[in-house]
């Protein structure tokens, strides 16, 4: 499509028009076609969401618009019109005025976008001086105004602070303030909340919406999260392999996605309603972009493909702002209802496989010349957990709540400071040396980042066999090799993978290798530390399917550490919610997700964006950030942020009370209503 999009459906004139944009990376004889002919239009006051999986070129569009491409990147064709002016024809000097002036940009990582040796106020003032001549002389009042606008409390004091004194959410607000300094007409936000926790994400997204209402700027939001799309978008563009495959208004898009890829994406999303079956997956992988595509890019992975798809590249159907790139009409696209294997959820047995009681993991804070211990970071502070065979317990919480530390302390990868961990009636915390080493084959761990969890210098065969060698399993070298090949087959990788290095595989495949490695020693329990959070939706579905299948087959017990509530709803049998080193609520998954009692659980669940624009949730907004585990607040740890805190909450930590069978919560408000049936099962109610 090369026609100019006409503003036919919206009374607002387009602010930004992109036509036929093509961006290439790398060598000119064999370029990576990162963006391959993209047309889009942004109108005043509208939020256009670009959604797609990693590597589809969505960030490259943003960088092309800003003309901030990485070395080796170049725009080879296309036009970018900002209010009628062509940005690509501007000399670099003039472009510098546009960046941060009429186009603002926020990046994913607020931690690295700010200069650590300058006060945040000065960094905002720099942008003000450059792009706001009115306030160039004395910028401070304007900076304070901007800080107020982005909702930073106490701005007069905050402007003189350094980035490290601010939390992640606050830093992202400062970044937004910098972007707003030039009073932009277009704000490009590249995954602005991906690095933030859900409760903070909710705050930032709401802020962006408010700012848009005030200033009428157009926002181009780039994300991979369909929930965020539903929550904030007016229009949506789906990217696949460097092209837009579908553009639509958000509501119709969620009601009826048209392109086969969009449809499959929705089917791959985990959720509570899919609990009893496997997830639909998109077979194959995104094709590499260093080749020309004579046909549809999705062809190899498309179930609806017909003869016509193999003849010509797909045309754009519909109007430029509302259509999709496919040969087939909407009613011609038939996606088989997949035959998904059933999933059964094992019943709870009497004897837990692993049992933690009052588990503590303190890290000493040392100061001074003599390195004296002046305090402790209480990363895990009295944790009670029971893991049952063939069942999944999800440990949920925001970053910094100690969930990963808890997982490692359970497996004795970090030696706990106190408490007990029993595995099959054997006390682990006092076990050392050879006996512990032998027992390690029974419990394994899968890490979040498959890139760093494998030694880049080792062959896949050696990686998978490492545990077997260490545990003296698998017999001779040839036997071991056979077994490794069988394991790879079990996780769906070809035998050829044996003689290759991890970097030759994609993220999802690497996570499979990591799973095969853990399985190699035939464990009974696996701690999964955010195994899918670094993966795209379609790949996540494959890994979740695999984990579920393996659980059924091998009767594995999982401790699933995550912050992704949708995954929890799909996979877990029980949920434990952690806040500041302690479990605040625990219970069966259906109870926790639907009838949570603890205010923190309620807030956490309400902050999760739901991929359904019709779903109007009321976000329980939490103020502020999680306090430091080095210095937890007196009384209930949550009282400073709790909307329902009472006097009592500030005095003593509430006891854990059992509400129903297996449903427990630590909150004064809960125990109050339950006074009669309170059965105090834990005595950790001491005040700090």
């Amino acid at each position: 499509m090369s026609e100019v999009a006409k503003p036919e459906r919206s009374p607002e004139a387009p602010v930004l028009q992109v036509q036929g944009l093509k961006t290439h990376l790398g060598a000119s004889h064999n370029p990576v076609r990162a963006v391959d002919g993209v047309d889009l239009t942004l109108r005043r006051g509208e939020t256009f969401v670009l959604v797609g999986e990693s590597g589809c070129g969505k960030s490259m569009i943003a960088l092309s618009l800003m003309r901030l491409l990485p070395p080796g990147g170049r725009i080879v064709a296309g036009e970018v019109l900002l209010e009628g002016r062509s940005l690509l024809d501007l000399p670099e000097v003039a472009m510098r005025g546009e960046r941060g002036g009429s186009i603002g940009m926020i990046f994913q990582e607020p931690m690295t976008s700010l200069n650590p040796v300058m006060t945040v106020g000065r960094q905002v003032a720099e942008a003000v001086r450059l792009h706001d001549p009115q306030h160039a002389g004395d910028s401070r009042p304007r900076v304070i105004e901007l800080f107020r606008q982005v909702g930073i409390p106490d701005p007069e004091r905050r402007v003189d602070e350094y980035p490290h004194q601010l939390s992640g959410g606050m830093k992202q607000r400062v970044m937004i303030a910098i972007a707003l300094a030039g009073r932009p007409r277009v704000l490009i936000a590249d995954e602005p909340t991906t690095a933030l926790d859900v409760t903070i994400q909710a705050q930032v997204l709401e802020l962006l919406k408010d700012l848009q209402r005030e200033t009428g700027m157009a926002i181009m939001l780039i994300t991979h999260d369909l929930g965020v799309v539903a929550e904030t978008g007016d229009r949506v563009g789906v990217m696949y392999a460097g092209q837009l495959v579908e553009t639509a208004d958000v509501r119709p898009f969620f009601a009826q996605p048209r392109h086969p890829y969009s449809r499959k994406l929705f089917r791959a999303l985990p959720g509570p309603e899919k609990r009893d079956q496997g997830l639909d997956i998109i077979p194959g992988m995104v094709p590499p972009l260093d080749q020309p595509f004579p046909l549809c890019r999705f062809l190899d992975r498309c179930e609806a493909a017909q003869a016509v798809c193999r003849e010509a590249p797909p045309p754009w159907q519909g109007s430029p702002g509302d259509g999709y790139r496919c040969h087939l009409a909407v009613d011609q696209i038939h996606l088989e209802a997949p035959v998904l294997p059933p999933r059964r959820h094992a019943a709870k047995t009497d004897r837990p496989l692993m049992q933690a009681r009052n588990l503590q993991m303190y890290f000493p804070i040392r100061r001074g010349v003599l390195r004296r211990t002046v305090g402790h970071v209480r990363a895990v502070d009295g944790l009670d957990l029971d893991l049952y065979p063939s069942r999944t317990l999800a440990l949920v919480g925001e970053s910094g709540c100690g969930k990963t530390t808890a997982g490692k302390a359970l497996l004795q990868l970090l030696r706990p400071t106190g408490g007990s961990v029993r595995f099959d009636a054997q006390e682990l915390t006092r076990l050392k040396g050879e006996p512990l080493r032998r027992l390690r084959r029974q419990f394994q761990i899968i890490f979040q980042d498959p890139a760093s969890s494998m030694n880049p210098r080792m062959l896949v065969e050696d990686i998978v066999a490492e545990g077997m060698v260490a545990q003296g399993l698998g017999g001779s070298r040839a036997d071991r090799r056979q077994r490794v090949a069988r394991l790879l087959d079990q996780v769906g990788l070809p035998e050829a993978a044996l003689r290759r290095y991890p970097h030759e595989f994609s993220g999802g495949q690497r996570q499979r290798i990591a799973i095969a490695r853990a399985l190699a020693v035939e464990p009974r329990l696996i701690v999964c530390d955010e195994p899918t959070s670094a993966l795209d939706v379609s790949v996540q579905a494959q890994v979740l399917n695999l984990l579920k299948e393996l659980q059924q087959e091998l009767e594995l017990s999982y401790l699933f550490i995550t912050h992704n509530i949708a995954v929890v709803a799909y996979l877990a049998d029980e949920v434990a919610v952690m806040y500041l080193g302690r479990i605040v609520e625990q219970g069966p998954v259906s109870v926790i997700l639907n009838q949570a009692l603890h205010p923190y659980t309620q807030a956490l669940l309400s902050a999760v964006p739901v991929p359904d624009p019709a779903h109007h949730r009321s976000v329980l907004r939490l103020e502020g950030d999680m306090p430091s585990p080095a210095n937890p607040p007196v009384g209930c740890h949550f009282h400073e942020r709790c909307p329902r805190a009472e006097a009592r909450c500030r005095e003593a930590y509430p006891p854990m009370v059992e509400i129903d069978a297996g449903h427990r919560a630590a909150c004064w408000l809960v125990s109050e209503g339950q006074d009669e049936q309170v059965s105090d099962i834990s005595s950790k109610g001491e005040s700090e």
Binding site: L413, F443, E466, G467
Partner: protein
């Protein structure tokens, strides 16, 4: 046998170094991921050019490492008797240079001595004049023809060089002209073309020295009439030995202590850290001076323990390598400790721990292979620094033995020559040219190696 092979202490270590280099080359060849950075080095024009230059130095250094004692006659039983003097293959190849000794200073390409002497004319009268040299330009009937002769010989030398060059290229093309043309015109062979041009320059220099050095003193002669060009050639081995053996002797300590400190932390880390902070707080020059002076006194008190002067000088060279190693391992150790601290937090190390893999295996399998790039970068970057350090140390008389040829010793003697009037500048110039070419090539090569092996730079490219 007309000779008896001799292996000096440094020779043995050089052979060990070659063996290690061979093993690691073989190992690298078998592992794809290890080859990748080297391929990137191979794609750099600078690196290929520098490598050719370094190659010539290495060949000369190796020729100078093959030591032997020549036979001089037989004893009563008919067994050969060997000279006490230790020679090297380079000495043998450069016999004319070695033997063409003048009386004292002479300027480069000069036919006369640099100093007036009383000369007796055929008629018996005596004048003070600059006498003809015994060897330099001795073949000329009229010394005024020297300029013409030099030009002729230079042209011949360049022709010889170009001929050698074509020969080398044809050997690479397996004797087929068309193959060579095709190879030369292939745009993908840019770095190799740079290497070929550098080779042409180097071979021309070889040709020049073949035709000129026999008849003239191209870099003049020193105070005792020895050829400065020969001295410069002999100094190559000293420079290379200092640059490589020092790192070889310091590597085991630096690697072992560095990764142990980073991996085990706790008291192990404390002990190792105290060790290297203490060592690096002592001024290096002071430590080297003290050690070398002690060695010197020991050697002069135990003259009879050494078979020859060469052996004694060689031991002193080795000792200098050792002491330089002791003072220079701390920085690498510190780097490795930091990297290991980072690596041990990585998830694959924790995964190994979760499997119950032992500490030693973890160190060898997961830590060591992932710090080798740092070791390599440091070794290559340190090389040129060490070559220069030798010059500085010899200049202040705490370097190699005065009998050992080294650029430092040449510069040291040039200190007095520069104070003379007229100035004797060629010793300094020769040392400077040889050292500059080597250090420049090594630095250029090191930069490319660093870029290829540093993962942070690799991600960006």
């Amino acid at each position: 046998m007309p000779f008896q092979p001799v292996i000096l202490a440094t020779d043995a270590l050089v052979y060990l170094l070659i063996l290690l280099a061979g093993i690691s080359a073989f190992y690298t060849h078998r592992h794809e991921h290890l080859q990748m950075p080297w391929r990137q080095v191979g794609r750099s024009r600078t690196a290929m050019g520098a490598l050719v230059v370094i190659g010539f130095y290495v060949v000369i250094g190796l020729l100078d490492t093959l030591h032997y004692r020549p036979a001089n006659g037989t004893d009563a039983q008919g067994n050969p008797r060997y000279a006490t003097e230790v020679m090297s293959v380079l000495d043998w190849a450069a016999t004319p240079l070695r033997e063409h000794r003048e009386k004292t200073y002479s300027a480069p390409f000069s036919t006369h001595l640099y100093m007036r002497e009383t000369v007796e004319l055929p008629d018996g009268s005596k004048v003070r004049d600059y006498p003809r040299l015994k060897w330099g330009g001795a073949h000329l009937a009229d010394p005024d023809d020297a300029a013409m002769d030099i030009v002729q010989r230079s042209l011949l030398g360049i022709l010889v060089g170009a001929g050698l060059w074509l020969g080398v290229l044809l050997i690479f093309a397996r004797g087929r002209w068309a193959v060579m043309r095709g190879w030369w015109q292939d745009p993908a062979h840019g770095p190799q073309r740079t290497a070929a041009w550098t080779l042409l320059v180097m071979l021309s220099l070889v040709g020049l020295s073949l035709t000129l050095a026999g008849a003239y003193h191209v870099f003049g002669t020193d105070k005792v009439g020895e050829d400065v060009f020969y001295q410069s050639l002999k100094s190559i081995r000293t420079g290379l030995v200092i640059g490589t053996l020092t790192t070889l002797v310091m590597l085991p300590a630096a690697i072992l202590l560095g990764i142990m400190a980073g991996y085990f932390r706790g008291w192990v880390d404390d002990v190792i850290q105290y060790l290297y902070t203490t060592l690096s707080s002592v001024p290096g020059v002071l430590l080297i001076a003290a050690a070398v002076l002690m060695m010197q006194i020991y050697m002069s008190n135990h003259q009879d323990e050494f078979n020859s002067l060469t052996e004694r000088a060689d031991l002193r060279l080795l000792f200098l390598c050792l002491i330089l190693g002791v003072t220079s391992w701390t920085s690498l150790c510190r780097l490795l400790r930091g990297e290991t601290l980072k690596l041990r937090q990585l998830e694959y190390v924790q995964a190994a721990q979760a499997f119950g893999v032992g500490h030693f295996t973890t160190l060898m399998r997961h830590i060591l292979p992932n710090v080798t790039h740092i070791v390599l970068i440091v070794v290559v970057l340190d090389f040129s620094g060490l070559v220069l350090a030798e010059a500085v140390l010899s200049y202040i008389n705490i370097g190699v033995d005065p009998n050992t040829n080294s650029w430092g010793n040449m510069i040291n003697s040039a200190r007095l020559e520069l104070a003379r009037d007229p100035v004797v500048w060629w010793s300094l110039a020769a040392a400077f040219v040889f050292m500059f070419a080597l250090v420049l090539a090594a630095n250029l090569f090191a930069d490319v190696v660093r870029d290829a092996f540093d993962p942070r730079l690799r991600e960006r490219s």
